[in-house]
Amino acid sequence: MAALSAAPAAAREAPFRTNLPLRAAWLALAAYLVYAMSLLEITWPRFMIGLDNGAKFIGRMFPPNIAQPDTLLKGLTESLEIAVLASFLGIMVSLPIGLLASRNLMPAWATWPARLVIVLCRSFHPVIVAILFVKAVGFGALAGILALSVASVGFIGKLFAEAIEEISLKQVEAVRATGAPFFNVITYGVLPQVFSRFIGFVTYQLDSNLRNSTMVGIVGAGGIGGTLFAAFQRFDYDFVCAILLSIIGMIMAGEVIAGWVRGVFLDRGKVDEE
């Protein structure tokens, strides 16, 4: 066995050569991690103290206790309403903006402003946008609705524009050749091609709005988040646990429904056909 492997090994190249630049990159990453962790004061003793606290914390969270069932229910419904309305508003606004931003259908003077709006909407976290709207329209669900609409415009607008840019222009040309006006070119040449992807990101955005609508309450923009934050500040950890579990339950239910809706509109056979 030894003789068998020793002779050709010298002649043959090593099967897995060492990649020096790659190793240097890994080393640089490790060095950065050490540097960043020292800067962030992430140390082992702090972590261990935290674990102690964590055990106490979890102990206080269980068993979960619904201290104020009315507030909980009201918060959850409000979050749901915020998510639904924000998705609706956001989608209505993002359709024209996404269309304007698609480079294959629109001239440059239309795509640039539309793209700027999309980038602006996308770069801020919904909670930050919610702060600004709380100042503008006061505390309550409206601020949350507007903030999440802005986030939806950023997300759906971008994906919608990308989807339109990937369509086949042959069908658009064919519809145009029949003398169809611009609006009909859009409804018969463009929209059918992007519809299935559109359903995909709408259901995704509804889901994501539902998640975020449970959070905007932290800055006073309505929904269950306010209740959650208040419970945290009162150290009512058993109520916190109950709220978290109900939020998770609502989000999972939303995910199941979104999956079902996707199934209704995009059955396997049709996706394969495309």
């Binding site: 935290g50 606290n53 976290h125 503008a136 998770i248």
Partner: protein, 269 residues
């Protein structure tokens, strides 16, 4: 489409009655949901009347942007945000890899373990990063440690899910060849799965880092470090010109991160 061209056949319908009923049900539920929400949601009209005025007031107070505030109050917090996002992403990847391996059905052929991994991934994703931050602030006290862990735990679900899916798509031929040669478990992973996973992996990691830069900017609102702390202070003191400075800084970093990620993706992948 599979249109029938024979004349005698019944009129072609694109969808079966069940499909049409399901679609109708979705549309109906959608409209009902929107109408019901619009009618019951609590909006205080008095606040709405002076909204344009308030908005104007807001922008007047924000202008001119307090750029002088950047070196003293914003720069360090901004760097902290980037470090939180980066360290959080690396930690997330370290924790998500084993979970992703457990979730992939071809790597781990034991159903109960698959479901356990899926449960971990779903619970990580269902809790918002702000909630993770609140939890970790309660455990570790305010500061960047809580923020980093919040980012890491929130990202496990995302990274683990995508890694698991990428592993399930791996070509079984290579794996079989390695197994047939008697390669140990770790070699199958590192020489069989990893090369196939690598492009997807870097793309996932970069994408998540980009998201994490955005998310880590708000963690400070609940005391978990980063530029959100500077934002929170400026907001509480109603120093709107400083708020504008912080927002500009966040905007700049987010745009730079996105440009960088796009550039690296084009170069490497």
């Amino acid at each position: 489409m599979n249109q029938g061209t024979n004349r005698g056949a019944p009129a072609w319908r694109r969808f079966t009655p069940a499909q049409r009923l399901a679609r109708f049900a979705v549309y109906l539920a959608l409209v009902a949901g929107i109408v019901a929400s619009a009618q019951t949601v609590e909006i205080i009209p008095e606040f709405l009347y002076d909204a344009p005025e308030q908005m104007q007031d807001l922008f007047r107070r924000m202008w001119p942007i307090a750029f002088y505030h950047y070196p003293r109050g914003v720069h360090d917090a901004l760097m902290e945000t980037i470090h939180i996002a980066s360290v959080g992403t690396v930690l997330a990847i370290l924790m998500a890899f084993p979970v992703g391996l457990l979730a992939a059905r071809n790597v781990t052929p034991y159903r109960p373990l698959n479901y356990l991994a899926k449960l971990i991934l779903v619970s990580s994703r269902s809790v918002n990063s702000l909630v993770w931050a609140l939890l970790f602030v309660a455990v570790f006290g305010p500061g960047a440690l809580a923020g980093t862990l919040a980012i890491a735990f929130r990202s496990i679900g995302f990274v683990g899910k995508l890694v698991g899916e990428a592993l399930e798509e791996a070509n079984p031929g290579t794996i079989e060849a390695l197994n047939a040669a008697g390669a140990p478990w770790f070699s199958v992973l590192s020489k069989g799965y990893w090369p196939q996973l690598e492009p997807a992996f870097w793309s996932i990691a970069l994408f998540r880092w980009d998201i994490n830069v955005r998310e880590s900017a708000v963690l400070g609102l609940v005391g978990a470090g980063g530029i959100g702390m500077a934002l929170d202070t400026a907001l509480n003191l109603f120093q709107w010109d400083r708020v504008a400075m912080v927002l500009t800084a966040i905007f700049g970093v987010v745009i730079l991160a996105e440009i960088g990620v796009t550039y690296i993706r084009k170069r490497i992948i």
